[in-house]
């Protein structure tokens, strides 16, 4: 019997049992729906991660740390022997880079520039006639794309002028500005206090003898006001890593502030992390290898992307797992349906065999029916997922705040087609048992009427 004829007959017998076919297909459809979503969400999340990285991280820049633990959250840590080079970074004790390390890194082949991550801990931000506000500050990274509300940033990935800042728009109204354009060109004050110099016993003594006023006096003497000009005001961007409340300051000022606040402490000129800029046209992976040969740990932009992708893949795997569970359940549905179908059609099978239909063809007929069910289920599930996903995409983007141009669910034809094909395969496997029963049927037995 010709394959096309079997496929047609299989489709026809399903049409004769419409409700049963659709119900069985729906079971597979649930699996297909979930799997399609996991495919779409995985693709979307990867695309989004890609957008994030390409708009935030320069492909030529590497993050370098002295301690391998830096990149795995201190997992390899435990309690370590004291070392003045150690420092706490986000709750982990890590080996830090010293000034010598920075110089050493700068001499590695194809390294254009080494910028340490300065430990900037400003006390407050203010401006004439305004209250004091807490802030976080970070060194301006020219490679990060920023959406501006007003003002201008240096062109060609140049660093900010020494006394310039890039101010996020959240500071505008607290600092008494009407809007972004009013703020540009105005000055603000960032206060940095020295950490070292006075220990707890001294503070207690001052409080005891001179009261709070004495402490204030001490603090005032230990602090420094940095007067800076607002060069530009940034807007919150959907594709930005940077915390929206971090004030960006120039590299020079960052160094100055860090050095000022850590002077006379073990933290002075110690850096948990440095950014190494590879020369244009060089291979970041080769630079990474060279850096790691010197005993440092480095991560390229691509490594960072891989980490994000790993997270995405795990999440996608979890969703896909539920889909597979649904599929396994539906496999039993198919087996059951096809078994009943074989029993119901005993006479038909007997007749076909009496007319000379081969065992193999009878078996194929039932397997193809199962394949049709798989195809239908896949189509229903994937179609629904596609439709609902496309409709829900703008809402999801809005709810997650990832920007209307980024979609969390990206449906692609090829993987979905592959999914449907594999569902058909699963259905065929499920249909194997009933198909075998049909093929083994004795026509004499099947056609006995008395």
């Amino acid at each position: 019997m010709k394959t096309a004829d079997i496929v047609r007959r299989a489709g026809r017998s399903l049409r004769h049992a419409k409700i049963r076919t659709i119900l069985t297909s729906l079971a597979i459809g649930v699996g297909a729906f979930t799997l399609t979503f996991s495919l779409a969400a995985g693709e979307g999340a990867r695309k989004y991660a890609d957008t994030l990285i390409s708009s935030n991280v320069d492909a030529n820049s590497l993050a370098v740390s002295k301690d391998a633990d830096f990149f795995n959250g201190g997992q390899g840590g435990g309690v370590k022997e004291y070392d003045p080079n150690q420092g706490n970074f986000q709750g982990t004790t890590l080996q830090r880079l010293s000034q010598e390390d920075i110089v050493k890194l700068g001499k590695i082949k194809d390294v254009k520039e080494v910028t340490p991550l300065y430990d900037i801990t400003p006390t407050y931000i203010t401006r004439d006639g305004q209250k004091k506000y807490s802030l976080t500050a970070s060194q301006y990274d020219p490679t990060i794309r920023v959406e501006l509300a007003a003002g201008q940033l240096p062109k060609n990935k140049a660093q900010l002028a020494d006394d310039d800042v890039l101010l996020p728009d959240v500071y505008l109204s607290p600092l008494g500005f009407k809007d972004a354009s009013e703020a540009v060109g105005k000055t603000i004050v960032i206060r940095v206090d020295r950490r070292g110099g006075v220990d707890a016993a001294e503070v207690q003594q001052i409080v005891a003898t001179q009261g709070v006023a004495g402490l204030q006096q001490l603090a005032a003497g230990q602090g420094k006001d940095f007067v800076l000009r607002i060069a530009a005001v940034s807007k919150k961007s959907a594709a930005a890593f940077q915390s929206s409340t971090a004030v960006s300051i120039s590299g020079t000022k960052a160094q100055e502030m860090a050095n000022f606040s850590t002077k006379d402490t073990p933290d002075y000129q110690k850096y948990a992390l440095a950014t190494v800029q590879a020369k244009d046209g060089s291979d970041p992976a080769a630079v990474k290898a060279a850096i790691e040969k010197e005993g440092y740990t480095a991560k390229t932009a691509k490594d960072l992307q891989d980490i994000l992708f790993t997270i995405v893949n795990v999440l996608q795997g979890i969703v896909a797992g539920f889909g597979v569970l649904a599929l396994i359940a539906s496999v039993f549905g198919i087996i059951n349906t096809q078994y009943i179908s074989v029993l119901e059609r005993t006479q038909q099978i007997g007749l076909m065999k009496a007319l000379g239909m081969r065992k193999r063809d009878v078996s194929r007929l039932f397997r193809y029916e199962a394949a049709w069910i798989g195809f239908l289920g896949g189509l229903i599930g994937a179609g629904l997922a596609w439709g609902i996903g496309t409709l829900a995409n703008p809402k999801i983007s809005e709810a997650l705040g990832i920007g209307s141009e980024n979609h969390l669910l990206i449906f692609q034809f090829a993987p979905i087609a592959a999914l449907i094909a594999s569902l058909m395969l699963v259905a065929i496997v499920a249909g194997m048992l009933p198909a075998r029963k049909a093929a083994k049927l004795d026509p004499v037995e099947a056609l006995r009427t008395e």
Partner: protein, 232 residues
């Protein structure tokens, strides 16, 4: 020519053993109309199944044009049935929810005949049984007589050499039954097809060239000409 030589068939094992056919032998000439007559349980259906390759007797030979079908592999037996045999059953076994066309087309599909050829052959077969105008109707919408005519169309569509009819008129009233008989014998005479009717109806059997009476698994007697033109 069909030669049945010493076939025996036993069902069951040991205590439940039942010998359905006991050492049966006879010969049927090409183009003959033959009635196998017997009461229910006499073994006449088993005999028909054996002759058509549906069932395999444990001993003996069934030679169809010199080939022992009991020695053929399953695949070859299937092909033999598909190519050379047509079946008509007492309860028709037409597929109720399929169209007349699809019902008649089934044996052709099984034989692997191309779609374009099938169309012509199905039309011709339906014409033969005067059901041309029902080609698109579903089989469930037909009357009993029409269903049996449809079954005949399905049996003759692949132009078999041997037609087996198992109580073809058993479920029909005498008028429609007569029409079916007419069709079967007409086809037998026109095309020279061997017609083997299994029945307990003596009136129908009387219309056949040969009557083989089966009783308790043995051939009781044979009437008429076993080899065409020669009395036995």
């Amino acid at each position: 020519m069909i030669e049945v030589k010493n076939i025996s068939k036993t069902y069951g094992k040991k205590k439940t053993e039942f010998q359905a056919l006991k050492d049966i032998s006879f010969t049927i000439a090409d183009g003959a109309s033959v009635a196998i007559i017997g009461k229910s349980g006499s073994g006449k259906s088993t005999l028909m199944h054996a002759m058509s390759g549906l069932d395999r007797p444990q001993t003996g030979q069934i030679l169809v044009d010199g080939i022992n079908i009991l020695e053929l592999k399953q695949k070859q037996v299937d092909k033999f049935r598909s190519d050379q045999i047509g079946f008509i059953f007492q309860s028709f076994f037409v597929q109720a929810n399929e169209s007349c066309f699809d019902n008649v087309s089934l044996p052709l599909e099984i034989a692997g005949i191309s779609r374009s050829k099938r169309k012509k052959m199905v039309q011709a077969a339906l014409e033969e049984v005067e059901l041309s105008e029902k080609i698109k109707s579903r089989a469930r919408d037909l009357s009993g007589g029409q269903k049996q005519r449809l079954a005949i169309a399905r049996a003759i569509v692949s132009e078999p050499k041997i037609l087996f009819a198992d109580e073809p008129t058993g479920n029909l009233d005498s008028v429609t039954g007569a029409k079916i008989e007419e069709l079967l014998f007409g086809y037998n005479r026109q095309k020279g097809v061997t017609l083997i009717i299994v029945t307990h109806d003596h009136e129908l059997a009387a219309k056949c060239d040969v009557r083989i009476f089966v009783k308790d698994g043995v051939v009781d007697s044979i009437e008429g000409t076993t080899v065409k033109g020669a009395k036995k």
